[in-house]
Symmetry: C2
Subunit: 114 residues, 2 copies
DNA sequence: CAGTATCCCTCCTGATACTG
DNA sequence: CAGTATCAGGAGGGATACTG
């Protein structure tokens, strides 16, 4: 195998392993970062509060994204058996551990993007 | 205005300002983080090298994403007037300044996502 | 080599209406 | 209140072929 091919082979490997892609797939997108962010600032929120708090999101999207985040153990859903229904969402420990990263990204973003 | 409304008003404001959204829009997505990552590891790369290095990307997507990143000054495109064409891509200073953030995200991702 | 051009299709998203 | 069901529109992305 030629040197050039080896270089490509190696680079290829790098790209495939890129864990940032995994991150973007699971935490990225249009709504998930906002949901996490709002929950970082407010600790506990009900479905309706999140719905009103996040501009432009539909109920469908909200419940979908919440489910996704629950599935990977970023947020916790607590439902009370009352009428009318009451459901609380909050970040898990893992979810809270994102705070530093998100803050850093935020700072970088403020300084470098418009 | 009732207290509850004020709370929502405040939260609403938080969500709208969320700079992480801006970040995700401009640096996120399926390909941009990988491109940046590969360029962080390899300094200078030609179009074809990137194409081969990034598994599954098409030429169309690659050139599109490169343009986007060039537009926000994350990468630099240098074209040599030779035949056959030779074009080099590298990260700008701003692009390189993402390294710490991406590394942190990577670490978090490795520990918390599968 | 470094891209465009074109076609096509999937899936994401929004809007709206409905329910336990 | 906290969702689900349904439908439709459009952008995103892939495959292929072509060009300076």
């Amino acid at each position: 195998m030629k040197t050039e091919e080896k270089k490509i082979e190696k680079i290829y490997h790098q790209a495939e392993e890129c864990p940032i892609t995994v991150f973007m797939e699971q935490i990225g997108g249009k709504w998930k970062p906002v949901i996490i962010w709002v929950l970082l600032l407010n600790e506990v929120m009900r479905f309706n509060e999140l719905d009103k708090a996040i501009k432009g999101i539909s109920q469908k999207m909200l419940s979908q994204q919440l489910k996704d985040l629950e599935k990977i153990n970023i947020i916790n859903r607590k439902s009370y058996p009352v009428i009318p229904p009451k459901v609380e969402y909050r970040l898990t420990k893992k979810g809270k551990s994102l705070k530093e990263n998100l803050t850093k990204i935020m700072e970088w973003s403020n300084q470098n993007l418009k």
